[in-house]
């Protein structure tokens, strides 16, 4: 960190905020201490400073005071700079404090902390303690949701979605041995069941696609300028991911023999459970399922505590699984 740079940038902000007229680079150089003498050094430094301010979100405007002015000038309009007036009720402030803690040490934690600092600077106390004695917090004590972003792809994809930039990455689809190169126009990032997904337009497949961030292998790279991605009207990324991730409808029925006192996981969602008159120590369990392969895996995990009687394809699939263990 350079103290001189901080001083210079601060001077630049104050200078441009306090002017109504556009100031040329030359006028700025005269007003703000800390710029070097040689023209080329000054120019380079001034360009960097402008970039730094824009990165911080300072709305730096470029324009001329008079149509005949040759050099462009700069200013910061106070109205564009300032956080608008914002008043929060005590219960709203309590919720704000909780929201800022959601990210904890995850990717957007710094951004959340930055936002909270600005709101505090606007006079808001984001602390549940500000509630009066007779007021109840809208979020009871002890409710603490957290969001983690362990996938390294989250950061670049978030930026891509924010800046509407297409990306490319290599992706290992479920059950595929080799990762494949994909080019995506990302529309949104969604967390579902605690896992992160990105949905968008897959340029290679010419179709809407969903990718799980944990299956992205290696870096995510931008492959186009900002603003190149258009999210179609009515596209609901959450809906897209939900459709992609959802278990198929449970339209099949299975009949199993389950050892009495065992197979709790199979009985939990059973349609009916009855003692098996023909086999002592066993119950007959009827349950619904969606996908044969998934349910066969599940039933196999109960080992000798469960036997699938029907349907035949499910029964065969379980036997295949078990033989696979011994293969």
């Amino acid at each position: 960190m350079s103290k001189r740079k901080t001083e210079r940038l601060l001077g630049l902000v104050v200078c441009l905020l306090s002017t109504r007229r556009y100031l040329t680079a030359e006028q700025i150089r005269e007003a703000v201490p800390g710029y070097p003498e040689p023209d080329d050094l000054f120019k380079r430094m001034f360009e960097r400073d402008k970039e730094d301010l824009r990165d911080l979100g300072v709305p730096l405007e470029t324009g001329v005071n008079h149509p005949f002015d040759e050099d462009p000038g700069y200013r910061i309009r106070q109205q564009a700079y300032e956080l608008p007036e914002l008043r929060l009720e005590a219960d709203e402030a309590a919720v704000l404090g909780l929201a800022a803690r959601v990210w904890q040490r995850a990717e957007l934690a710094g951004a959340a902390a930055g936002a909270l600092l600005k709101l505090r600077a606007a006079g808001i106390e984001a602390d549940p303690k500000t509630l009066g004695d007779d007021e109840r917090s809208p979020v009871p004590q002890g409710i603490e949701p957290h969001l983690g972003t362990p996938e390294p792809a989250f950061g670049p994809l978030w930026e891509a979605v924010r800046d509407r930039r297409p990306v490319t990455f290599s992706y290992r689809a479920a059950g595929r041995s080799d990762p494949q190169r994909r080019e995506l126009e990302p529309w949104g990032v969604v967390n579902r069941h605690g896992r992160w997904y990105v949905a968008g337009w897959d340029r290679g497949r010419n179709a809407t696609r969903v990718f799980r961030l944990s299956r992205i292998a290696g870096p995510v790279k931008f492959c186009g300028p900002a603003g190149r991605v258009t999210v179609p009207d009515g596209a609901d990324v959450r809906e897209i991911v939900r459709d992609w991730d959802s278990a198929p409808a449970q339209e099949h029925t299975a009949l199993l023999r389950v050892r009495t006192g065992a197979g709790v996981g199979l009985r939990r969602h059973a349609v009916s459970v009855q003692a098996d008159d023909s086999a002592e120590g066993w119950d007959l369990v009827t349950t619904r399922f969606g996908d044969v392969s998934w349910f066969a895996d599940f039933a196999a995990s109960f080992g000798s505590d469960a036997v699938v009687l029907d349907p035949p394809d499910l029964r065969e699939a379980v036997i295949r699984r078990l033989k696979g263990v011994l293969a």
Binding site: V14, L83, G194, A300, V307, D310
Partner: protein
């Protein structure tokens, strides 16, 4: 930590510091330092830097005037820096995403403060918020019938009462009965959890709400021991302890999901998209179940005792099918012929 602060990060802090003091008229050095996460010494450096800002043209002047005598900060002049900078896209999004997620948390009976705050922040953030709405990072929490349990837990938390619950442990395929003194209702990795002192385990435990089989609020005061430490969920939910058994698994491309679902100590890529993973667990029962489920897509390599256990379990399970294969196949609900079952 502060040594890594860049010039622009410090600038951000300075731009917030002036309005922070002004909106409070007078504010103590110590409490301000805490609010900004800096030492008092660093704060004084910041204040000095602000006070020293000088503009030279057209006439030299100092735009900021402040004092911090007697530990109280007062800003008497600050030109146009009296308000904080508006929210950046990332900042607005981080809060709005978190708030929309809170609105999804089961067991909240009053969501009006949340919706009011979301509306106010969207208005204040202006364009920054509109970007976040279009390209939202969204959080979808499955309820799976947890809403009712969450409401009961919430009641128990605010009334300070003990819970009795039947809880399903999939690793052992067991329905367990336990009394729990509730501590927190958490949402971790997108799922709601109850954190509480389990009287049966004599320790702090996390319970997934979608595995609760039944729940009762008891007429007994909740009394977690004073030393009961909340779980630091950011370190991950599963932490191996030194006494745990290392388990080595080899997975086919179809079995790679295991590495995504279970915390692995190490993951090594083999040829053909295969993986070798090492897990640590105090109880290998669930690994046996996992191995049965994986079939040929996963193989236990070590420990040898578990390899044998898995083979025996598969053999016993197959024996049931062999005995049954000669019997008449049944149709759902109707048993046509009695079947013999081997043990």
């Amino acid at each position: 930590m502060t040594a890594l602060v860049t010039s622009t990060e410090r600038l951000q802090r300075l731009l917030a510091l002036v309005p922070y003091v002004m909106s409070r008229k007078v504010v103590g050095l110590a409490e301000t330092a805490v609010a900004f996460g800096v030492s008092e010494r660093e704060l004084v450096d910041d204040l000095n830097l602000l006070w020293c800002v000088e503009l030279r043209a057209p006439d030299p002047y100092c735009p900021i005037d402040l004092s911090y005598e007697g530990g109280e900060i007062v800003v008497s002049q600050a030109e146009s820096m009296g308000r904080p900078l508006r929210l950046a896209v990332d900042e607005a999004s981080a809060l709005l995403v978190a708030l929309r997620m809170l609105a999804e948390v089961p067991g909240l009976e009053d969501r009006s403060a949340l919706s009011r705050l979301i509306a106010k922040l969207e208005a204040a953030a202006g364009e920054a918020a509109s970007v976040s709405a279009q390209v939202a990072v969204q959080v979808d929490i499955p309820h799976d019938g947890a809403e009712g349990y969450a409401a009961q837990i919430r009641t128990a938390l605010s009334a300070g009462r003990r819970l009795h619950m039947r809880y399903y442990v999939p690793g052992r395929d067991e329905a367990t009965e336990r009394d729990v003194d509730p501590m927190r209702l958490l949402v971790v990795e997108g799922r709601p959890y109850l954190e509480g002192w389990c009287l049966r385990a004599e320790g702090v435990r996390l319970f997934r709400l979608d595995r609760v089989l039944s729940l009762d609020v008891l007429d007994v005061p909740s009394a977690p021991p004073a030393g009961a430490q909340p779980v630091d969920v950011d370190q991950g939910l599963f932490r191996p302890s030194p006494g745990d058994v290392p388990v080595v698994l080899e997975l086919s491309a179809d079995g790679r999901w295991v590495a995504e679902y279970y915390p692995c100590e190490s993951v090594t890529d083999l040829e053909d998209g295969r993986l070798r993973v090492v897990l640590r667990t105090p109880d290998t029962g669930w690994v046996r179940r996992l191995a049965l489920r994986l079939g040929e897509d996963g193989r236990v390599i070590a420990p040898a005792s578990l390899v044998t256990e898995v083979r025996e379990a598969a053999t016993a399970a197959l024996a049931n099918y062999v005995v049954l294969s000669s019997a008449t196949r049944s149709v759902p609900g109707v048993m046509r012929a009695p079947c013999r079952l081997g043990r």
